[in-house]
């Protein structure tokens, strides 16, 4: 009996990342109001919602970069928290990429990527460098290894930031509107990188304004408004037949910004790149 129960429990695979009742306050304002969200292994979830809806805060809290006021965060079934002594070690198992790249300007591209393996994981420099080179090669940046970040285009910088976040071999990659600061012509190369990461099985939580991309790459879409998860579901459901009037209204406004007369039928995927104005 007992063995059966235990095996049943171990069979049920814990989500890679699980947020339960997560609340976050800035001053008096409740920015996250009871977020429940879980990511299974290899799952790609896109967070959509207007600026100020709490997407960035959600990602920063999930990455243990900021304390939360209520709720809990679990990584591979184990509770983790900003306040833990082991928070630094936990952050090595989470990768985050920011809107503004935040590369280290005093280090070369290679050093940017090799820093965390060497310093945080304690690899010997040669091993850290080898790992960084492999990552840069896989992202098509091998020839930029010796350059400084400011010599690179925005798209290249953001891809370096992705390589840097992958360098500690995280279980989940969190991406915070990583194309919002980019020239439209540079967006494609970054999205292509994410697409191939998704194909390779990387578990990802992506905050984005790129609706077409979200519809294409996500297993699940979550619509966020005023710090609450209003609705979640497959891209077909959210973009095709949203249930909640607030989701409908948001998508209507987003589409109104895209090319006038763009025809969309329920159930079809967005063909154009639709970018919400901030």
């Amino acid at each position: 009996m007992a063995t059966a129960k235990r095996s049943a429990r171990t069979l049920k695979v814990a989500p890679v990342l699980e947020l339960k009742g997560m609340k976050k306050r800035y001053g008096g304002k409740l920015v996250l109001d009871g977020i429940n969200l879980s990511l299974a292994e290899h799952e790609v979830v896109c967070l959509i919602g207007a600026s100020g809806s709490g997407k960035s805060t959600l990602l920063r809290c999930a990455d243990l970069l900021e304390p939360i006021d209520a709720g809990q965060i679990s990584l591979e079934g184990e509770r983790v928290a900003f306040e833990d002594r082991s928070a630094d070690a936990t952050r090595r198992r989470l990768g985050i990429v920011f809107q503004g790249f935040n590369l280290f300007p005093h280090l070369t591209v290679l050093e940017n990527v090799a820093l965390a393996p060497r310093v945080a994981l304690g690899l010997i420099p040669a091993a850290a460098e080898r790992r960084a080179k492999e990552l840069l090669k896989s992202l098509g940046l091998a020839e930029k290894a010796r350059e400084y970040p400011d010599r690179l285009s925005g798209g290249q910088q953001q891809r370096v930031a992705i390589a840097r976040a992958l360098a500690t071999e995280p279980k989940v990659l969190l991406l915070d509107e990583i194309t919002s600061a980019l020239d439209p012509v540079l967006v494609a190369e970054v999205l292509e990188t994410l697409r191939s990461l998704a194909l390779s099985g990387m578990t990802m939580l992506i905050a984005t304004h790129e609706m077409a991309f979200a519809a294409d790459v996500a297993d699940r879409i979550c619509y966020l408004e005023d710090g609450r998860l209003i609705e979640e579901g497959t891209p077909e459901k959210i973009f095709g037949a949203p249930h909640d009037p607030r989701t409908k209204e948001f998508l209507r406004r987003v589409r109104a910004i895209s090319a006038p007369g763009a025809k969309r039928r329920a159930g079809t995927r967005v063909k154009r790149t639709v970018r919400a104005k901030r």
């Binding site: 970069l65 952050r91 090595r92 790249f101 935040n102 005093h106 820093l115 976040a165």
Partner: protein, 267 residues
Amino acid sequence: MATGSARKGLLVATLSTLVVAALVAYTIGSSPAWPEVQKAFFDGRYFSTSLPKVAGAFFINVQLFVLAELLILPIGLLIALARSITAPALAPLRIFATIYVDFFRGVPSILIIYVLGFGVPALQIDGIPKEPFFWALVTLVLIYSAYVSEVYRAGIESIHPSQERAARALGLTRVQALRYVVVPQAMRRVIPPLLNDFIGLQKDTALVSILGVVETFKQAQILKAASFNFTPLMTTALIFLIITIPMTRLVDRLAAKDRNAQLGGTR
């Protein structure tokens, strides 16, 4: 066009400078007591006899400020880091560092030199050195470490918090983030104000003459007392200028370069 107006600008600048200089020279030169003042302060004979001695004694000043600068660089950084510690358990360290900086920046240097240079050796504790040079060095290091720690701190705080956050997000500890990301970037910005403080330090080596260290200013005073002529002091002034003016120019150039880099930089 542009070169024409630039040449005109240079001409105007040269002319106005010459006119002002001539006026000042005339005013001073035509004052009734100028011949006596000139003899007392700018006597060529005293200048050439005092130069070797005053310049020789300047070697003590050089020793003082070179040793002091080598010690201040790491000590100032440690104090700056102690002041930026946020861990509650280490609050005493932060408080101590704050009091230290407030005290040594707030009290005139000459008083600190008096108290430490005469007071501490007077305690006659075994093993504590009594040499004035040692105490001169200690006081200069203590005073200027306080100033330099503030320069470091401003530099560290000028690095955008997103840099530290990016480092922490990779799993680096706070200390590692400072060591590998924040401090190396702060160092570059800190060089011009740091050199400024070192210019101040180099001049202040003259203050330790009150402890009886025969450095260049003390040597000049000895020569002045023997001859009743102030020219040796002017010799010393000249030697200080030879050291500090190139350094000031260097600071200006570095600061201008820094400004350009920040204006022209992409991010």
